[in-house]
């Protein structure tokens, strides 16, 4: 670790303190480094004598609570106040959610009533009874899709970096490292405000490049850990605004079947292509996720305010975003997808489809329906276009205040063959259309 790495780590660990105090503490240590240098000691020597940043930080933070007859009570008071504020905010959120749920329940009730009326009117047509159960199943659908998606995603992101690599390299220009990958089955990546790009290489070793910043790596057991972050120039430049240039972490992995690849970044895009593995976990915030020609068993993808795009890939796709579009094209496998305020677009999906969004259109272009399909949105259209009519499927289309179109009819329920593939589509205030490509 370099001196800056040391100071930076200490700074991070003390992020709970206010800026002035943190600055003072760091200045003490900088002064120490400066004097030691004049005495002919290298930064490495100084750091060895100094102890770990984590221990120093702990001591400072412990002192903060136990020491100081005057500060003590204030510290506690501030902590308590902050906690109270958090609790109040959570209460408010809970209340808002409750209200939202109550409103949704009311809408569904109204729909149920409307359907009951419809059912009465249609009793003699023979499929009125089907409509009644439709409401129940669709209500259920909404609940289970939301739950299953968030469960998978929180579960898979639970294992964090156990310990951080300490051999950090810092540079204003390209850092390039080669890693021996014999026996490595897992790759765990953590970046901050940096683009992450993972792809296959034909070389037997992995190549890790960071255009600029701080890069640390280690191989432990069968896992390669990579951590990168931006250079912070906050020392001794008070009054100046430092501009962070965007940096990119590029990871070329030798061809093999990995057990797990997990990558986390923030405010930046992540891309994965041509990788074969069991489990892929990607998490970004405010950034796009892009997966191409990747073969996995499970793909857990999560971002916010960003698009998720998966193309020409295999595996069970779990994707979750807010305020972002989700686009899945030519996927061999099932998909569970959730967005809010985002469009959902599917093309050529072979497995079951569960899709939930609000205020976003849902579109599916498939050759045929040969799977279970559940789609839920509100205030937006659902459109399914097929090349051939399904052999065995049951269609249930539910919308309010709008029309449904099912293969050139205005029906909202129909059975093909033995009806074994359930297609349940639900929205409100918008049209639902299921048709053939040739009709359009």
């Amino acid at each position: 670790m370099t001196k800056y790495g040391f100071l930076n780590e200490l700074d991070q660990l003390l992020s709970g303190l206010d800026t002035d105090e943190r600055k003072e503490i760091l200045e003490d240590y900088e002064e120490h480094f400066a004097f030691a240098k004049r005495a002919g000691k290298s930064d490495e020597e100084v750091m060895t004598l100094m102890g770990m940043p984590a221990d120093i930080a702990r001591e400072i933070l412990e002192n903060k609570v136990e020491g100081g007859f005057f500060e003590e009570s204030d510290t506690y008071k501030l902590q308590e106040e902050a906690l109270n504020k958090q609790a109040a905010a959570l209460d408010e959120k809970a209340k808002a959610l409750e209200e939202k749920l109550a409103a949704q329940a009311k809408i569904l009730e109204e729909q149920a009533e409307a359907l009951a009326a419809q059912k009465e009117a249609q009793e003699h047509t023979g499929f009125g009874h089907q409509v009644g159960s439709l409401v129940d199943t669709l209500t259920e659908t909404v609940g289970t899709v939301v739950e299953s998606v968030s469960e998978v995603i929180t579960e898979t992101f639970e294992h964090e970096l156990a310990s951080l690599p300490e051999n950090a390299v810092e540079s204003e220009t390209l850092i390039q490292e080669v890693v021996e990958m014999t026996g490595v089955k897992n790759v765990v990546i953590k970046a901050r405000n940096q683009k992450v790009d993972i792809r296959k290489t034909t070389y037997p070793t992995a190549r890790v490049r960071l255009t600029r910043g701080v890069l640390a790596m280690k191989v432990e057991n069968d896992t390669l850990y990579i951590e990168s972050r931006e250079i912070k120039r906050k020392f001794r430049i008070s009054g100046l605004i430092s501009i962070e240039l965007s940096a990119e972490l590029k990871i070329d992995l030798p061809e093999q079947v990995y057990d797990l690849i997990q990558a986390k970044t923030s405010n930046a895009k992540m891309a994965v292509s041509d990788i074969e593995l069991d489990q892929l976990n990607l998490e970004s915030s405010n950034g796009k996720l892009e997966i191409h020609t990747t073969k996995a068993n499970e793909l857990a993808l999560q971002t916010s305010n960003g698009k998720i795009e998966v193309k020409d890939s295999t595996g069970h796709v779990h994707a979750k975003t807010t305020n972002g579009k989700i686009e899945l094209t030519r996927i061999e496998g099932c998909v569970n997808v959730k967005s809010t305020n985002g469009k959902l677009e599917f093309e050529g999906i072979t497995g079951d489809i569960e899709a939930t969004t609000t205020n976003g259109k849902i579109k599916l272009d498939n050759h045929i329906i040969d799977q279970q399909v559940k789609m839920t949105t509100s205030n937006a259209r659902i459109e399914i276009t097929l090349q051939d009519k399904p052999e065995h499927a049951t269609f249930e289309l539910l919308t309010s205040h709008a029309k449904t179109k099912l293969f050139e009819t205005d029906r909202n329920y129909d059975v093909f063959g033995d009806g074994r593939h359930q297609v349940k589509l639900s929205t409100s205030h918008a049209k639902i259309e299921v048709g053939l490509e040739t009709d359009a």
Binding site: I25, D28, E31, A34, G51, D55, I56, G67, E71
Partner: protein, 103 residues
């Protein structure tokens, strides 16, 4: 060694050194680490705590060409505290020594 015990002893050393003359942080770590094996990084949190408890005051001295030095000076309150700790330590050490030398 017991952590709390070591911390107390280190505080006593720091107070004693500064009572003789004002010192800056690096000077203190050098002086102490010549005699006792410590993590040098832990001196600074200690200095902060003692300053916060008003046993020390600090002042900056700029030096030409080198880094500026933050000096620590013992206050009246600090002197009282040092005396109290010194007598506690001496009676404790005396007791331990006697027990060790007993046949």
């Amino acid at each position: 060694m017991n952590v709390q015990f070591k911390k107390g002893a280190l505080a006593l050393c720091v107070l004693a050194i500064v009572s003789k003359r004002d010192c800056y942080g690096y000077e203190l770590t050098e002086k102490i680490s010549q005699q006792i094996d410590i993590s040098e990084g832990s001196i600074y949190p200690l200095l902060r705590r003692l300053t916060k408890e008003a046993y020390f005051t600090t002042y900056l001295v700029e030096s030409s060409g080198g880094p500026s030095r933050k000096y620590y000076r013992l206050t009246e309150k600090g002197k009282d505290y040092l005396e109290e700790m010194r007598s506690q330590w001496l009676s404790f050490a005396k007791g331990v020594n006697q027990l060790l030398e007993e046949e």
